[in-house]
C-alpha cells in the first residue's frame, strides 16, 4: 500500500513538473534587450539608396517622388516605424509574457519598443487573425507558434509603411513573418517581409539584441504641432524627373547609379562580384 502510494506520488510529481515547465521547445524571451546597432545602420536614411532591396519599378517610382519634408507635416510627424521596419531602427525593447492567471500559460508576449514607445502583442493562444475590414495598425496583428526553440510570428493588418526610411514603400497588404531565436544572452530576429505590391521577392533581414538587465524604456510622447505654415492640404513630393538628390548617394560612394537603384538582383553576392568586375574596366561609369 505504501509502495503504491509512493508510486502514485512519483507519477503526480512527474505530471506536475511537466505541467510547470514550458511546453517542449519554448524559450524564455522575457527581459530588456538592447541593440548594438552594428548592422545596416549607416546608410538607412540616404535618399536614392535602394541597394540590396528586392523592390519593383512601382516602389522605385514612389521612392523617387518621396520628399523628407513629409515628416514635418502634422498628419505624419508622429508616425512610428511600422513593425516591418521598426527593428532596423532604434529598437531597444522590453519583452514580457502575458500569463493566463487560471492556467499559468503564456497566452501572449508583449513587446515594447523604445523609439516612439510602440507596443505590440504577439498572441500565442491560437486565435485567428481579424477579417479584412478590421483596422490596420503600425504594429499589425501578430500570432506566434513555437517551432522547436524558434518563435515564429506572423503579422498581418499592418498600415501602409516603408521598408527603408527614404520613401521605399510597402503596402497595407504586406505580411511579416518573423523567427525569434535566443542563444544565451543574444536574441536574434530573422525578419521576412512579403509584399505583393512593391516587392518581387521576400525581403529578409537579420538583427540581434543583447540582454541588458536594468535597462529602462523611457516615455516617448509625440505632440503634433505645425512646424511650417503651409497651405492646408500641402503634400510634399517630387514630380517625375525633378528630385535633385537621387544621384547623391551613388556619387558619394563612387558607384554607378544602377547599383543603388535596387531590385532582387542587387541582393545577391554575385551582383557585387559582377559590379566589381565592371567597375574595374577602363571608363566604367561611377557616381552618375
Amino acid at each position: 500500500m505504501a509502495r503504491l502510494h509512493d508510486t502514485a506520488r512519483g507519477a503526480l510529481l512527474v505530471a506536475m513538473m511537466s505541467a510547470a515547465s514550458p511546453t517542449a521547445g519554448q524559450v524564455d524571451l522575457s527581459g530588456h534587450w538592447v541593440k548594438p546597432n552594428h548592422e545596416d545602420h549607416a546608410s538607412e536614411a540616404s535618399i536614392g539608396d535602394y541597394s540590396g532591396l528586392p523592390i519593383n519599378e512601382a516602389a522605385r517610382i514612389r521612392a523617387d517622388a518621396w520628399n523628407p519634408e513629409r515628416w514635418g507635416m502634422p498628419e505624419h510627424q508622429c508616425e512610428p516605424h511600422p513593425v516591418t521596419y521598426a527593428p532596423v531602427g532604434p529598437s531597444n525593447m522590453r519583452i514580457l509574457p502575458v500569463i493566463d492567471p487560471q492556467t499559468q500559460d503564456i497566452v501572449a508576449w508583449d513587446v515594447t519598443l523604445h523609439w516612439m514607445e510602440m507596443h505590440r502583442r504577439i498572441w500565442m493562444d491560437g486565435r485567428p487573425h481579424p477579417p479584412a475590414w478590421a483596422p490596420h495598425t503600425w504594429m499589425g496583428f501578430s500570432t506566434g507558434t513555437w517551432e522547436g526553440d524558434v518563435l515564429t510570428v506572423t503579422t498581418t493588418h499592418i498600415k501602409a509603411g516603408w521598408v527603408r526610411r527614404n520613401g521605399l514603400p510597402h503596402s497595407d497588404r504586406a505580411v511579416l513573418r518573423e523567427h525569434w531565436v535566443r542563444t544565451g544572452n543574444v536574441l536574434t530576429l530573422i525578419s521576412v517581409v512579403n509584399d505583393p505590391i512593391y516587392l518581387t521577392e521576400p525581403l529578409i533581414r537579420t538583427l540581434s539584441w543583447e540582454l541588458s538587465p536594468g535597462y529602462q524604456i523611457g516615455s516617448y510622447p509625440c505632440d503634433i504641432s505645425v512646424e511650417v505654415d503651409h497651405p492646408e492640404g500641402h503634400v510634399p513630393f517630387n514630380l517625375p524627373g525633378q528630385n535633385p538628390y537621387l544621384s547623391e548617394y551613388a556619387a558619394r560612394y563612387g558607384l554607378p547609379l544602377e547599383a543603388v537603384r535596387g531590385g532582387a538582383e542587387t541582393t545577391r553576392p554575385e551582383y557585387a562580384e559582377a559590379l566589381r568586375r565592371r567597375l574595374a574596366q577602363p571608363g566604367a561609369p561611377r557616381g552618375q
Binding site: 512601382a58 475590414w133 495598425t137 501602409a160
Partner: protein, 270 residues
C-alpha cells in the same frame, strides 16, 4: 460598421432607437436588417445617405420602411402608424439628382439640407451632417458622431480603390481633395498617429487619420502629376501614356487607375 458587398453601413444604437448610414443595395436589405436586429431590438429611427449611388441608397426603402418616425402631438398618429417609415436624410442634391433621373420615388430622401452643415442630436450625442462640396458628386455628406468619435465618410474616402469623380453628377478632383482635407480636420489620432477618431469609408476597411492622410497624399500626388502634364499641353492619351498612377495601380487597380486619370484630366479641364 457592417461591411457588405455594397460597401459599408454605419449603425448607431441607443435610447432613441437605431440610426443607419447608407443601407447599401436593395439586394442586401434583408441581411442588413438582420445584422441591425442583432445590435438592437429598437426601431430604426433615422436613415442617412452619404451620396446617391445605388450601393448607398438602394436599401433605403426596405430599411427606412421597417422603421418609425419619432413624432408627437397631432402628427404622431399620421407618422408613426400611417407612413410607417423612418425619415431619410441626405443633402438636397441627392434628392434633386434622383428625382431628375426619374425612377420610382420610393426610397428617396424625405429630409434634405442645403447648407454646409446640419446638426442633429440622437442617442445621446451630436450627429453632424457635413456637406463635402463637389467631391465624388455634389451631394456628398460626411456624418460625424461626436461623442463616439466616428465619421462615416461615404465615397469621399475609399481606401481599397481609386476615388470615382462622377463628373456628370457634379463631382470634381479639387472638391474631392478638399473633402479629404476636411476629413483630416475632423479626425484626431489617439497616439502615434493611430487610433482615435474612427473613419468608416464608403468602401474598404475601418480606418483612422493615418489611413486618410495616406490616401489624401496619393490623390493629391496623382492630381498634381496630371496637372503638370496638362500644363505641358498633353492630350488625354499622352497623359495616360505617361502613367501618372503606375506606382499606385498595384494597390488600387490598374483599370480603375486609367478611369481615374481620365476623370482627373477632364475635371481639371473644366
Amino acid at each position: 460598421m457592417i461591411a457588405g458587398p455594397g460597401g459599408n453601413t454605419t449603425v448607431q444604437v441607443g435610447r432613441d432607437g437605431v440610426l443607419v448610414v447608407d443601407p447599401q443595395t436593395t439586394a442586401v436589405s434583408q441581411p442588413i436588417l438582420a445584422e441591425i436586429g442583432k445590435l438592437s431590438p429598437a426601431p430604426i429611427r433615422y436613415v442617412i445617405n452619404t451620396t446617391l449611388d445605388a450601393d448607398h441608397v438602394g436599401g433605403n426603402q426596405a430599411v427606412a420602411g421597417s422603421g418609425q418616425t419619432l413624432a408627437g402631438g397631432n402628427t404622431r398618429a399620421a407618422t408613426v402608424y400611417s407612413s410607417g417609415g423612418a425619415p431619410i436624410y441626405a443633402h438636397e442634391n441627392v434628392l434633386k439628382r434622383l428625382s431628375g433621373e426619374g425612377g420610382v420615388a420610393s426610397g428617396w430622401p424625405t429630409d434634405t439640407y442645403f447648407v454646409d452643415q446640419k446638426d442633429l442630436f440622437i442617442n445621446g450625442e451630436p450627429v453632424q451632417l457635413i456637406h463635402a462640396q463637389a467631391a465624388h458628386t455634389d451631394g456628398d455628406t460626411m456624418v460625424v458622431f461626436r461623442r463616439t468619435d466616428v465619421v462615416s465618410a461615404g465615397d469621399v474616402f475609399t481606401p481599397d480603390r481609386y476615388p470615382v469623380i462622377d463628373l456628370q453628377r457634379g463631382g470634381s478632383i479639387n472638391g474631392l481633395i478638399a473633402g479629404l482635407n476636411q476629413l483630416l480636420r475632423i479626425t484626431v489620432p489617439e497616439f502615434n498617429q493611430q487610433g482615435g477618431t474612427l473613419v468608416v469609408p464608403g468602401h474598404g476597411r475601418l480606418s483612422d487619420e493615418a489611413d486618410v492622410a495616406d490616401y489624401r497624399d496619393m490623390v493629391t500626388i496623382v492630381r498634381d502629376r496630371i496637372q503638370d502634364l496638362v500644363k505641358r499641353k498633353m492630350t488625354l492619351e499622352q497623359v495616360k501614356a505617361a502613367r501618372p498612377t503606375f506606382d499606385y495601380d498595384g494597390i488600387y487597380g490598374a483599370q480603375k487607375g486609367a478611369e481615374f486619370i481620365e476623370q482627373v484630366y477632364r475635371s481639371l479641364a473644366r
